[in-house]
Amino acid sequence: MSTHDHYHPPGLQHQFEDMKQQEESVSIGMWAFLVQEIMFFGGLFTAYLVFRSRYPMAFAAGSNHLDAFWGGLNTLVLIVSSLTMALTVYYAQKGNRNMQVILIIATMFFGAVFLGVKAIEYSDKFNHGLVPVAGLNHKSKAEEPAAKEEGKTAAGEKHEPNPRGEFQWTGENYEASVKIITEAHEKKYLTKYEEVGYYSNGELDQNKVRDKVRIFYWIYFVMTGLHALHMIVGLGLMTWLLIMAWRGTYSADYYSPVEISGLYWHFVDIVWIFLFPLLYLLGRHFMHGGGH
């Protein structure tokens, strides 16, 4: 293998002729990977589309329990992290080690904030019996209702006992969904799936409504969960970049790892840019007085 008669710059892998070929390969590879990612999330977006078009009122009701403030804050956080990421690439090209390190740390900070907020939201769902898998919710007994009445539940909703940690759609949540479903029913807005999906013998069926809201929640958990998983992978990438940048690896001649990690980071942000309105915002007006 020492038969090469041409110059090999450091960082050039043996299968490539020159740095340009290597950079192109790595970059096309990342783009192809992101195409793959789009198809991966695409299956879930399809499921969202199918079920939302069938049960729009249940989706609106479920969506309204999500906190648009936290969701909006996270959107902002991610957009800022995209900026710091883009600036990292810029300073890597300039070979400015200090700015790279600062900006990567900033990007990681915002990524961590995002995951922290997500954890707050998930634990809220856990406490309210809104995790769609039975047994994965807070288990509360009938004897100790006072324990759940403490001030940490923001909305101050009443809680039914949930000894087995099942998915619950009760109390004020259920009342609110009854209101919009009835209104839509009167105005003949319900889809044909909803007419059989919410009612039994002409009466609203609480269990049936719950099952449809649960569809919204599994979609919410699977989509945001997979997204969060991608964020965690992204933080791993950033840790590695941080070490490499700290050592002063990147320069005008060699920065493609920063560039492709940036591509990945932006992609994960963009997924959230779609998730936020689809999950948090669509259908809000039904419950907030704007729906005419």
């Binding site: 299968q15 299956g43 199918v50 449809k212």
Partner: protein
């Protein structure tokens, strides 16, 4: 020093980044799975010798055909040609030292092994009985098998496919040698490129589908269960969105091999190069628009059915384009009937039948009569075995001398190629008739009137089994006792024939500069036709 002699330790294989060594590791792995899938097939054909369910009771029979399907589709047919032959020859054929991402290549092998081992573990623990399609509610509510483990195995294995596809795409874009323009690429490379597109676009969808299946099975959250608002048809849509294109992951690389064989063994430039190249891309694209033809009777809308039926007819066009161009290449060619060419000609016959019966099934009206019968079974075996396996075996024989540096016995090669062809037809042609007469698939028992044809089929399966066992023996034999192969035993112009057999680790001493078109036979390439003929005569 060849790539084989470059290190003899286990570590030098298991940690290799050499695409050729990884290809051999894949070859061994897929062969094991092929053998295993074949044993399940043998069990099926034995059971169907008699009308009663005697050898296997229905429950075990369900497991046997499911596991036959899962192993053959996900662990043999899908990786076979790309991961073995594509891995080995795609870089060489474009004049590169390796794939663009060698570590990713090794990773894909490990992912394949992990997915495969997990599946094997599940099979030993008790297996699955859902059918290879994992339809709900069999897979969610009613199955008693190890659906989770097998599903996870298939899920993991999907990523090896994605990484292979990704690697091929990058490699074809960036690693071509100087002068190797897109339209000088051998058609095997075009075919693998098109396959790679399907791999990265389709496989993630089945991955997420299996993930949802697992969630539904564990959490019962109402994704596919209609009693709580879910939709079983959604499962089928998502599954076939991948699994119809997956047929093209199996058949496109095989078509690439066939293009090589037909042109090279006719010693004639291939007819309609651009048409064959673009038909691969067309198949990859249109293949994504026809999945609903698997669902004509499952409750999708009739109008959707009509569109899918029409598009299914459309997707047959690029396949037909290939068939016509191959035939035109044979015309006035200097055809020699070496073993690889026998497989190629066999492919043309079998794929023709497989493709045309696909049109029967794509017609919505006729489909209602034929769906879920042995007609379907016969059709997709003509495509998957008659197509993919024939191409795979043809390619293995064609490139064996290059991969191993040894010559196999042409005599036994030809015998086994003919046995495979005869045995295959004897096995599967009767199944068209059985299906047309109404014998449903996936049953261990059948009416007595159908026994004669079933005996034909089982007898054919044993001939086919013999035909497939022979290569294992004479190819292995050649590794030790075979004659040493020259660099270019077939006297062909492709880049892979211009380097030693077996190739050195870096493939080329220096980066080649390509100045010729693909399949350019002529004396300026140092290829003397007469000499080639003499060699042909000498080996008969």
């Amino acid at each position: 020093m060849t790539y084989i002699t470059n290190g003899f330790t286990l570590k030098s294989w298991l940690l290799t980044k050499d695409h050729k060594r990884i290809a051999l590791m894949y070859l061994i792995a897929v062969s094991v799975f092929f053998l295993l899938g074949g044993l399940y097939a043998a069990a099926i054909r034995l059971e169907l010798l008699t009308p009663q369910s005697d050898l296997l009771e229905s429950g075990s029979y369900n497991k046997v055909f499911t596991q036959h399907g899962v192993i053959m589709v996900f662990f043999f047919l899908i990786p076979a040609i790309p991961a073995v032959l594509g891995n080995f020859f795609l870089p060489i054929m474009i004049g590169a030292k390796d794939l663009a991402l060698p570590r990713i290549n090794l990773l894909s092998w490990y992912i394949y092994m992990i997915g495969g081992s997990l599946t094997l573990y599940a099979l030993m623990q008790g297996g699955v009985d859902t059918g290879w399609t994992f339809y709900t509610p069999y897979s969610t509510t009613f199955s008693n098998g190890y659906v989770m483990a097998v599903g996870l195995g298939v899920f993991i294995n999907g990523f090896s496919s994605i990484l292979t596809g990704l690697n091929f795409i990058v490699t074809v874009h960036t690693m071509r040698a100087p002068g190797m323009t897109w339209f000088r690429l051998p058609l095997f490379v075009w075919a693998n490129y098109a396959t790679a597109l399907v791999m990265i676009l389709g496989t993630p969808v089945v991955a997420i589908t299996i993930l949802l299946l697992a969630l539904e099975r564990v959490g019962h959250i109402g994704i596919f269960d209609p009693s709580i608002g879910g939709d079983p048809i959604l499962y089928q849509h998502l599954f076939w969105f991948y699994s119809h294109p997956a047929v093209y992951i199996m058949i496109l690389p095989s078509m690439g091999v066939i293009s090589e064989l037909i042109s090279n063994f006719s010693r004639k430039k291939i007819f309609g190069y651009e048409f064959i190249a673009f038909s691969s891309i067309a198949i990859a694209v249109f293949g994504f628009l026809v999945w609903g033809h698997h669902m004509f009777v499952s409750g999708q809308s009739m109008y959707a059915g009509m569109v899918f039926s029409f598009l299914t007819m459309v997707v047959a066009v690029p396949s037909a384009i290939k068939m016509f161009n191959w035939t035109a290449t044979l015309y006035k060619g200097s055809v020699s009937y070496d073993t690889p060419m026998l497989y190629a000609l066999g492919f043309m016959g079998l794929f023709l039948i497989g493709g045309l019966t696909g049109l029967f099934l794509g017609s919505m009206g006729l489909n209602v009569h034929l769906t879920d019968t042995y007609f379907i079974v016969a059709h997709f075996h003509y495509v998957m075995v008659g197509g993919t396996v024939m191409g795979y075996l043809g390619g293995i024989h064609y490139w064996w001398s290059k991969m191993t540096g040894k010559l196999y016995s042409e005599f036994w090669g030809k015998i086994s190629a003919m046995l495979v062809f005869v045995g295959f037809n004897l096995t599967f042609f009767p199944q068209f008739i059985l299906g047309y007469q109404g014998m449903p698939r996936r049953y261990a028992a059948y009416p007595e009137e159908l026994q004669v044809l079933n005996i034909f089929s089982s007898a054919g399966a044993s001939v086919l089994g013999l035909g497939l066992t022979l290569p294992v023996m004479y190819l292995t034999h050649s590794l030790i006792w075979g004659k040493k192969a020259p660099a270019n035993p077939w006297m062909l112009p492709g880049l892979e024939w211009r380097i030693p057999s077996p190739p050195p680790t870096e493939n080329f001493e220096s980066t080649p500069v390509v100045t010729w078109e693909a399949y350019e036979f002529g004396e300026e390439n140092g290829l003397d036709l007469d000499e080639a003929r003499k060699r042909d005569l000498a080996t008969v």
